[in-house]
Amino acid sequence: MRDFDYFEPRSADEAVSLLVKYGDAAKLIAGGTDLVVRMIAGSRRPKYIINIKAVPGLDYIDCSGDVIKIGATTTMRAIATSAELKKKCPQIVEVARQFASVTIANMATIGGNLCNASPAADTGAPLVVLSAKAQITGLEGTRTVPVEGFFTGPGSTVMQPYELLTEIQIPVPPAAFKWAYIKHGIRSVSDLALTTVAVLVNIKNGIFVDARVALGAAYPTPMRATQAEAALKNKKATEATVEKAAALVREQCCPISDVRASADYRKQIAYVLTRRALMSCLNSK
């Protein structure tokens, strides 16, 4: 690993000033489970490392209001094991429980998972479906963007070089909404997902009155399956509707071929998983 200078800022503002000072040569680190792998491999060679896990007050889960607030450096393991969060938003707890191994989850943070902006990031599709927002801190203070608009491509986000992610905000999902999340990978817990799908639907009197569907590793960014959603909304909650919507996911997605799987395989999996996730909502009481 190439040598670098190391900083432990004591506040988000101090982290911002370090980013302003060192620009592109600096890289933020939190859990390090993505960045350090790349630094060891030599594909990332930052001159300055700013450890935001050292910033006090960025590691919290606040379930007191209608919007759950999770500090950016909260570990995935803390999310997976939060009893309070399980009551208010079992969906994100389920995602965290399926996230990598316990050992990696003890290190990796929810903010890091988003900022790394992997199309396959575990939290991407679920947070899109949950209408979550990302709070970003920069020179002019904080701004908030929907997670859906946070990603701009593989490894890139709407954040400026001098900004950092400070909080994830998740509106408490209505209890009546049905949810399903499926992560498909080769090694069940320790590998990147080949495809993930998250769905949140509201079925009333046998009709899909609301439907949100998103996929990971199916598109250059976490993908909101808008065509599938349109095919579900205000339609009868039947297997035929689900089949039609899932088929549209296959059309909309454009996954890559890599060492893990071919694009064709991923398209087929995206279709199968979407169908399966929606059917499980249909069949749950």
Binding site: M1, R2, I29, T33, V37, M39, T103, N106, S188
Partner: protein, 155 residues
Amino acid sequence: MRQLIRLIVNGEPNEVLVKPSDTLLYVLREKLGLTGTKHGCDSGKCGSCTVLLDDKPVRSCLTLAISVRDRELTTIEGLARNGDLHPLQKAFIENGAVQCGFCTPGMIMFAKAFLEENPKPREEEIRKALSANICRCTGYVKIIEAIQAAAKEMQ
């Protein structure tokens, strides 16, 4: 620039001179001579470098030593007490859970943290948790039996 940091390893404070780029794995093995922790995949996938940081398992290959200054670390060398092996170490020996032995320290450190959270695990829970650590010899059966035996012993 190198910095002098303090690491508390197996209850003992150590002053070590580190570069910010030194991983915890490197410092444990090459600066403190604690070679029980193994250097495997260097990418957080295999689990052979697992150590406990404030009693929680982490990958030492992906941890910058400088980021854990003043924190409590436990390695495989810290499990035996006054020459008596930890119940997990005994159970691994008695159940033949070791073949080449390379994954064993990581397995045992992970199992220690796992049993603290879940003292009476079901077999499938052990299997699921252990997918964090790769063993290329045993087929895992003996490792699972050893963890079950240790869980009983520790109750």
